[in-house]
């Protein structure tokens, strides 16, 4: 029992994922600044933002449901922590996980997005409602290619739905990214992760110039702080999932620590470069992009992995 609590609250869970995710979000902002020939924020900027937001006043919505508004960030944090634990335990090789944990991960990864929608609708702001509707459409768009890529990975690793066994197959036979089907799958899942994280070009749910931060418009103080913490955790969890599915996992022993850090930083760097070189697309364009092109890529990846390329 104490071991599980330790897992959820300290090591791969809340504290570890929050601190490392904060570092990755600083890395993202710093790379963004360097791309734009700027200096960028200091290293502890995510910590300053988080503590400052915790200390500020929290304003409750007048024309909404205050209880739902306050509870939705808590559920988002719980979902993100669960996802971090279920993904990081097998990916880091601490525990082998259980059979079928990939299916649980698919569901748990959706909890933060769904709670953003509920929180946005509970705030009673029309712009938040617009943002929530866009987030719903975005979930409908990226979920199918995400599942298809996972299907391709499952077929490639001999019909196993255990994340640790997928990593073990990759350690024995070489990483999935080395094959043709893996490359198609990697491009697809990178775009899906971009949309799951809500980054440009798929940040239309919280477009700050257009609908004033959309789903986050009414959240202030500690509500916003917990949303930021959820974003930090997801910023570590999803690149770690990509590393587990395509780069044969992460290891925490000897020189392998360096390789693990480089793998995660490479994925985050790709996400950041995509975010800096693209404008925000409209929701219609995003849906067409995912339903036509990304599904096509994912189906090609499945066919190639059935052939065995």
């Amino acid at each position: 029992m104490t071991k599980e609590i330790f897992y959820f609250l300290v090591f791969p869970g809340l504290l570890f994922a929050g601190v490392l995710g904060g570092f990755l979000s600083w890395f993202d902002r710093k790379i963004t600044a360097r791309v734009q020939f700027r200096q960028g924020p200091p290293l502890f900027q995510p910590l300053y933002d988080f503590v400052k937001l915790l200390a500020k006043e929290t304003i409750l919505p007048k024309y909404g449901s205050p209880l739902t508004f306050l509870l939705s960030p808590v559920f988002a944090l719980a979902g993100a922590t669960l996802a971090a634990v279920f993904i990081l335990l097998p990916v880091l090789g601490i525990e082998s996980g259980f059979s079928g944990d990939l299916l649980v991960i698919i569901y748990v990864l959706n909890i933060p997005s769904v709670t953003y929608i509920i929180g946005g609708l509970a705030s009673g702001n029309p712009l938040a409602a617009v943002g929530s509707s866009r987030e719903i459409k975005l979930i409908l768009s990226y979920e199918l290619p995400f599942l298809l890529v996972l299907t391709s990975i499952i077929i490639k690793s001999g019909m196993t739905i255990n994340l640790r066994e997928i990593i073990d197959v990759q350690i024995a036979q070489g990483a999935n990214i080395g094959s043709l089907s893996g490359i198609f799958g990697f491009i697809t899942i990178l775009m899906c992760v971009q949309a799951k994280l809500g980054l440009v070009p798929f940040d239309m749910a919280e477009a700050e110039g257009e609908i004033c931060d959309g789903i986050m418009i009414e959240s202030s103080g500690s509500v916003l702080a917990i949303y930021k913490l959820v974003k930090y955790i997801m910023f570590l969890t999803l690149p770690a999932l990509i590393c587990g599915l395509f780069f044969s996992g992460l290891e925490l022993s000897g020189i392998n620590i360096l390789w693990s850090i480089l793998k995660v930083l490479l994925v985050v760097l790709l996400i950041t470069l995509i975010r800096n070189t693209n404008p925000r697309v409209r929701i219609k364009q995003a849906m067409r992009f995912f339903w036509v092109w990304m599904n096509l890529f994912a189906v090609i990846s499945i066919i190639l992995s059935i052939i065995g390329v």
Partner: protein
Amino acid sequence: MGFKESCFKKSLWVYHLSAGSCNNCDIEILDCLTPRYDIERFGMKLVGSVRHADVLLVTGIVTKKTKPRVIEVYEQAPKPIVVIAIGACPCTGGIFASGYNFAGPLDKVIPVDLYIPGCPPKPEAMLAGIMKLLNK
């Protein structure tokens, strides 16, 4: 000075409110974001919603039409909030001080923490003013 205050000073999120300006100060504020001045070094960034803001930048004279809106935006902001009057217009009224639609300088409407005069003030002047306020 506690840890909370130092975090507040290192992470100021700025909300920009134009009360009726000629757009010149607004362009100078946007200059602060460019690579030459880069206020993100100090942890500042522009936010889209006043609920996230720590700093309220007000530009332009407060006209009779915008006065209730300025008060409403100030009341919507989560406290503590720093109000900065950018340019000659919110500080004193500037060349519009005798206009028929002038509703008084900004400090008659909401409490102001920092005045940065100029028409428009240079980005260096804004940064120097904010640094003086933070190191007070």
